[in-house]
């Protein structure tokens, strides 16, 4: 990912403005956000202000409701995502092992990988009701297909010669799997997991906005309806922090097991 740095070696080192541009931009943004509503240029009712946001954050974080909403959303996400990982990995390995199975399964899987999984939400609600189950199901569907599809893409790239050599030298199936298949598919699997985390999180919030009586998505929707933009933003920022944290965790795994060569 950092390969482009080389392309810049011909340029002088970052001077002051360049280095601090990000920080300055954020400060300017916050300042404008605070000042413009106060001057009446934009309606505070719709934009809130950073100072109001800070007050709202303290209030919200001190409430027990916030933590129970957070726990509920994370529970829905964790169960759906966990199930997807547990089912998708063996499924991908099984399908990938047989060209015919893959030929048959690929088209419907690809179709569901491409289609936004949220469109299945009304159907899942019809099947499973408006409670926890339909949310877990939509997270499962959103996370399952990226994992399987990327795993299959990874298995495609395994060098057949390596497998044969291993075979000739008497490696057992388990040894072949752990020394050749697993390391070769790991980077693709991690790409799949990264996509799955993003889509899963999106789905759980979307499902809660669509229909629910608690959870982060529900609260965002509720505060939007009652125009409590300050509280809405506290909950929306919570989602950002969760998303950021998860993508960092995957990033760490990628540093350890991801693609070593940057293409």
């Amino acid at each position: 990912m950092r390969a482009p740095v080389r392309a810049r070696s011909g340029r002088p080192a970052a001077h002051g403005l360049e280095r601090w541009a990000g920080v300055i931009a954020v400060l300017v943004f916050l300042a404008l956000w605070e000042i413009l509503p106060r001057l009446g240029v934009v309606n505070e009712f719709f934009t809130s202000r950073p100072s109001l946001l800070a007050v709202a954050a303290v209030e919200v974080l001190a409430s027990a409701q916030y933590w129970s909403d957070l726990a509920l959303t994370m529970q829905e996400f964790a169960v759906g995502f966990g199930l997807a990982v547990v089912v998708a990995i063996p499924m991908g390995l099984l399908i990938g092992a047989s060209p015919i199975a893959r030929g048959i399964a690929m088209t419907p899987m690809m179709a569901l990988y491409i289609a936004p999984s949220m469109i299945l939400l009304p159907l899942l609600i019809l099947w499973l009701g408006v409670g926890l189950a339909s949310k877990i199901a939509v997270v499962f569907i959103a996370s399952y297909f990226p994992i399987v599809i990327n795993l299959l893409a990874g298995m495609d790239e395994i060098d057949g010669r390596l497998v044969r050599v291993g075979h000739v030298f008497g490696a057992s199936r388990l040894q072949l799997f752990s020394t050749i298949h697993l390391p070769a598919t790991m980077p693709h699997l991690l790409v799949g997991l990264r996509l799955a985390v993003g889509r899963g999180l999106l789905s759980v919030i979307a499902a809660e906005i669509f229909v629910s009586s608690a959870g982060i998505g529900y609260r965002i929707q509720m505060f939007g309806n009652s125009l409590r933009i300050d509280r809405l933003l506290v909950y929306a920022l919570t989602v950002s922090i969760i998303g950021y944290t998860m993508s960092r965790v995957i990033g760490l795994l990628e540093e350890r097991w991801g693609a070593r060569s940057v293409s």
């Binding site: 390969a3 482009p4 392309a7 810049r8 011909g10 970052a14 403005l17 360049e18 280095r19 601090w20 541009a21 990000g22 300055i24 931009a25 954020v26 943004f29 030929g103 048959i104 399964a105 690929m106 088209t107 419907p108 690809m110 179709a111 491409i114 289609a115 936004p116 949220m118 469109i119 299945l120 939400l121 009304p122 159907l123 609600i125 019809l126 099947w127 999180l201 999106l202 919030i205 979307a206 906005i209 669509f210 982060i216 998505g217 965002i220 929707q221 505060f223 939007g224 309806n225 125009l227 933009i229 809405l232 909950y235 929306a236 989602v239 950002s240 922090i241 998303g243 950021y244 993508s247």
Partner: protein, 251 residues
């Protein structure tokens, strides 16, 4: 060639097989038609709604929102990505905002858009732009940054002006990555439009799914769900074709 043909054949087999299993399960009474409808009923409803013009109306509504959103996301993403790729200060300035957009599931901002723009097309478009912007921006940035610095220096020493550098080297060299970003963006823009329509709109494919679900019309809901899945496949195929074309054009 034969491999391609056989994979097409297997795809067709699985498609026909799924329809057959679906119909058989409903006909045999294993699953209630209330829950899954049946391929024959879905086909009939599709033809009936096509005659009434319902399908065309909702398809057009979604397609217009999608095209507007995709055009905005692509032009903004490419313009910002180009600027950030050429000027480090711009990249650093945008960095925190891009990181925020990248880690926020854009749907969390949907209620904010509703508060600002009301229900309807502007909200659908805004949501879809938020969905599609980051991959297009990020790919354009990577594309411009990866332009060979030797090539740039050479052109510079032969007297090329900044505008020439941009139009003749940076832009063509980064086209494949930009198209790659657009490929990611297509799916995400589609998702954005449909989700926004699902939550609140008065027309569109997403709206039709939610609307028919409300009245427990499983068959009509299935028609629109399948239509969305087909649209997704067609759009992705089309973008893949564009990508292949842009590769050929570059060399």
């Amino acid at each position: 060639m034969t491999l391609r043909r056989s994979s097409w054949a297997l795809g067709l087999v699985s498609f026909v097989g799924l329809l057959a299993i679906w119909q058989a399960a409903v006909s045999a009474g294993l699953i209630g038609a209330y829950y899954v409808s049946s391929p024959i009923a879905v086909g009939e409803a599709f033809v009936a709604m096509l005659r009434e013009g319902t399908i065309q109306r909702h398809f057009t509504a979604s397609a217009i929102s999608f095209l507007i959103a995709f055009a905005i996301a692509t032009s903004a993403g490419v313009a910002l990505g180009m600027a950030a790729g050429m000027f480090r200060t711009v990249e650093r300035t945008l960095d925190p905002f891009v990181w925020f957009l990248y880690s926020t599931p854009a749907i969390a901002l949907y209620p904010l858009f509703v508060a600002w723009l009301g229900f309807g097309r502007p909200t659908s478009v805004a949501t879809a732009v938020m969905f599609a912007l980051t991959p297009i921006y990020a790919n354009t940035l990577t594309g411009v940054k990866n332009v060979s610095p030797q090539l740039m220096r050479m052109a510079h020493s032969f007297g090329a002006r900044p505008m020439d550098l941009f139009v003749r080297i940076a832009l063509p060299a980064s086209v494949p990555l930009i198209v790659g970003g657009m490929q990611l963006g297509v799916g995400r823009a589609l998702a954005g439009v449909l989700v926004a329509e699902l939550f609140g709109a008065n027309a569109g494919l997403g709206f039709s799914i939610a609307y028919n679900a409300q009245y427990m019309r499983t068959t009509k809901m299935m028609v629109f769900i399948l239509l969305v899945i087909v649209c997704g496949l067609v759009l992705t195929r089309a973008m893949a074709a564009v990508s292949a074309m842009s590769d050929r054009w570059r060399t």
